[in-house]
Symmetry: C2
Subunit: 198 residues, 2 copies
DNA sequence: GTCTATAAGCTGATAGAC
DNA sequence: GTCTATCAGCTTATAGAC
């Protein structure tokens, strides 16, 4: 028992992710990661060849999951309103599944993009934008969404509001992500203005 | 001419702010700052006693400006809808006036909060929240804003959407901040849903 | 006000014993 | 798979000449 391969490896990634998220990748040292795991810093290099590799695994598994869920949303043949809602739900589910990776991505993309090995992050960001734009533009085309604001601006405003929730929203039984998803959808679709019920 | 005191000092702060914003505070070295200014790193210490002091001046002047503009918005005796709009405009004007400081604050607050000297950032964040909540709650009380979503959640969603625009919005003659402010206000107040004109 | 020179400590990473 | 021991390089910061 307790002999599965890579258990230690996963523990290291978990410690690293939490530290990277809290203090930033550049400010987190391999010694701090090792301390958190309970080994010496040199021993980390039996499992990973560099600190960058740890970040890479954390962030790329997050992006892989995200792309998978976004594909499912795109495949749905439903109204724009419902599809935007599902896109928000998918995003928040990824936030819940990868809170540290989400925070690392939000805070440190610029830093990571300095290194060649993280060039793929540019494409990932572009793909995410394409999914949102597809949903928004379909909504405009079908007449559900307003056409008087640039879809790209709508995308960026909603994207930042949704993703940055990782910094403050802690899901609980009382307040699950589905509840936040409803609030987001409701605010973005219907606005803050008080309106008589239909 | 060109003998005003502190010209060099300001040039150093400008270089530092740009580098801190682009690569993060922790990942920016005093040598890079000095290189950018065109002097040697040791010479920086004639003007500042530490790297932290540079960050401190950049961020605190940003917050000072922000607090001043927010006070003016709070003092307005107008409808909630207009006041929320003015709050968004005030925020975007501060973004425009202090783009680097805004980005540093957005990306590196967590990192800075590790140091005792940046404890004041906690209060600053709380004050900002109070201003937004005052405006939102006044709107609910007067019946203009919907009461079915927690004001704190509304605040956080709008805050992140507005402030993170520093990462992608570059004001131009064709697209000034007033234009972005209209788009934000319009999205938040009226929503994405297409509606017949009144 | 900038330079030269350098300190003292921390950084990521490696080699080899156990 | 972890430890011991260590390296080379970089970090912030300082002291004193110019």
């Amino acid at each position: 028992m307790a002999r599965e391969p890579g258990v230690r490896r996963e523990a290291i990634l978990a410690s690293a992710a939490a530290l990277f998220a809290r203090k930033g990748v550049a400010a987190t040292t391999v010694r701090q990661i090792a301390d958190d795991v309970g080994i010496l810093s040199g021993s980390l290099y039996h499992h990973f060849d560099s600190k960058e590799t740890m970040v890479d695994e954390i962030v790329s598994s997050f992006l892989k999951d995200l792309q998978h869920r976004y594909e499912q949303v795109l495949a749905e043949e439903i109204g724009a309103r419902q599809r935007l809602h599902d896109l928000i739900v998918a995003s928040l589910e990824v936030v819940e599944a990868h809170p540290h990776a989400t925070e690392i991505y939000q805070n440190d993309v610029n830093f990571l993009l300095q290194f060649d090995r993280f060039d793929y992050l540019r494409n990932a960001g572009r793909q995410v934008q394409n999914v949102w734009l597809t949903v928004i533009e379909a909504g405009i085309a079908e007449g559900t969404f307003r056409a008087d604001v640039d879809p790209k601006i709508l995308y960026r405003l909603m994207r930042d509001a949704v993703w940055l929730s990782v910094r403050w929203f802690k899901p609980s039984a009382d307040h699950p992500i589905s509840s936040l998803a409803e609030d987001c959808t409701s605010l973005f679709l219907d606005g803050l203005t008080s309106r008589p019920k239909d």
